[in-house]
Symmetry: none
Subunit: 215 residues, 4 copies
DNA sequence: CATGAATGAGACTTCATTCAT
DNA sequence: AATGAATGAAGTCTCATTCAT
């Protein structure tokens, strides 16, 4: 029985090893070629496996991306979710969220972009994309309401403002993290921390204003 | 000679008529199907022309998009660039830019998105995309420098801040204008003017802050 | 205008020529390899066309067979339908039907068999097959009712008897016409007319009996 | 030695158990999906065995079907062949044969159909099919000769007539037994015994006629 | 013997592009 | 210039078969 268990264990290890190899290869190919240019055969080759092996684990490219996206979603949640003490100052809290998002993007950016690309062409990914965004918008809108109770950013709809906030963070990360974003443009060496710092300040600024503040 | 000129005129008119028909059809198909799903044959059919006619005017889909993008760039410039009196208050000025961008996006959104999609897959479009962004970043960074001279948003790099600003505007527009952005999410009837209003307030807020402002 | 018409005529001629070439090639390949072994590429090659040309005319193998089957159905109708004077002696009439069916099978056998093969695997062809059979059963059952009114084959259901009759004719034709049926078995030179003659006699015999006839 | 024998016995029992499970599963899958759609993996799964186990007992799908077909042939022989008292009236005798065939078909129809399907595509199965038919034709031709000696069905070749007879029986059984034959068509509840009864009457009628019988 | 992951040949299908009319 | 049939490269996916455990 010990042998049988060992056998099973070894087998399932082999199975998950191959799957992991394919996923890892997929992330690399996705990062390199983008979702639309990523061919199954390239992914298999990158993984050092036969094409058929891909289909042992995923029905097609969509299902693969679905699996990767799930991992991304979990990563974001793990980074953001847990310590988001609502008891904190809403601005400090937002700073934490931005940093967490940036970190997740740094690691899983290729997948996030791939989902985004797929969403442009495929309705089920468009849905997933909206879900992910909705999650972010909900989180941010809570902070905005808190800020409003303290007298800030009066007269704007919290969800709309939250949508803007998310766009700001997401797309900044996209343009900085993903292939040759604006950094090349800026032609200067600006390190991660400065980017996040500035982004955070502006996120906070975008909701920490009062109508009556003089110019 | 008069006849010849008339002939040429008629010819070029006819030529540009077919070309215009194809471009118009392309815009519709792009809006409907996205760049990657837009087939040459679909565009030709939508234009009521034969496939061969497409190749009479464009070498391939890229060239077509290049032409459309050029029109988009001009439209944005016409709306924003020229008369943007730098003499104005930088915040009022930014408000104008945001509104202009929104208007351009409303009209040419499909093309903008198509260029964006193409940029994810094709290096030459990625370059074009960066150019377009650079244009926007340069414009915004001027306003930020002005604001900084008045004591606002000290301690941030104007180009980085400008990059964030552009991301905020572009991606908000993207998510609102393009197919079922966040609006569906919000599940509420929010009209254009409120969206732009909020976006503008936040854009301004994002740079109109002082470190010493108490909570 | 004459030129335009000529052009159109020439073009449409070209179009239908290619389609006809593919259909003819398909019939040959179907006869040679059977439905399941017939590859699109083989058909295209046999027609001297590129694979892509096949798809210009048929969405897939099913649609091709559908078209061929329609021609078969029409051929059978043309051979049988028209002169089936119900005023004739029912037995003479049946003889004519058998001969007509045999002739149709001789010419379109490969298609008939292909439909039959496809019907074993594909529900929509199974339906078509049942339709074709139903047509035959209806025709035969009329003759059987006539025969019954004259006192023959009492006590059997006309539709069931008709089903048997059709099976007899169809499957005899199948086994004789299609690749090396029973003829090889018989190892003798038996010509068409004797086969049809015997088949006809037995078809007639199968319904021209009376219960009271002594052994 | 006793132990060794016991071991062998147990082994061979186990062996045949797995083999039997696969065969039984194959019959079910064949009935459900047809020969061409029946995948090895489906059969293995249906048997609750691993794919590899299939190859322990059969070299491929053909060999499996060969084995099943052999069982079918034996079943038909057992039902018909052996004790078919030639001393009986040839018509009574034919009735018995028809009933026997119908019974065999009812039980092993799926295999018979599978062999038939395979014969359409595969020369070695075509051979087997002809052998099986030849067997039936030989049996029936004997009865026909007997009938001819008594003055019936003069002027027809006994083998050809026998071929027709076999086609009638086989294909009627096929159309009635196999998925949604003509029964659906008839749209009526007709039970087995009536079908066999009618089939038998017509088989007999098909050879029990005299040229001189008046209309 | 049993297992089932790995393999890759082979079939299908799409679509950008060409070219003869 | 306009047309659209013809083309075939390239990608997707299936499934019989092998082989290491």
């Amino acid at each position: 029985m010990a042998i049988e268990q060992a056998g099973r264990f070894r087998e399932s290890t082999k199975r998950s090893k191959t799957e992991a190899a394919i996923k890892a290869a997929a992330r690399r190919v996705l990062a390199r070629d983008g979702y639309h240019n990523a061919k199954i055969s390239d992914i298999a080759e990158e993984a050092g496996k036969a094409i058929g092996s891909f289909y042992q684990y995923f029905r097609n490219k969509e299902e693969l991306l679905l699996a990767l996206a799930e991992e991304f979603r979990i990563a974001v949640q793990d980074n953001i979710g847990a310590p988001s003490g609502i008891e904190l100052d809403p601005f400090d809290n937002l700073r934490g969220v931005v940093r967490a998002f940036w970190r997740a993007y740094r690691e899983h950016g290729a997948v996030a972009v791939a989902v985004f690309q797929a969403a442009m062409v495929n309705e089920s990914f468009a849905d997933m994309w909206r879900q992910i965004r909705a999650q972010g918008i909900r989180i941010a809108s809570l902070r905005i309401r808190l800020a409003q109770r303290r007298g800030y950013c009066q007269g704007v709809d919290p969800e709309v403002a939250s949508s803007v906030l998310c766009s700001m963070v997401e797309f900044s990360c996209y343009n900085w993290v993903v292939a040759n974003g604006d950094l090349e443009l800026l032609n200067r060496n600006i390190d991660d921390s400065e980017l996040v710092e500035t982004l955070t300040k502006m996120v906070v600024g975008a909701i920490r204003w009062r109508e009556d503040a003089g110019h």
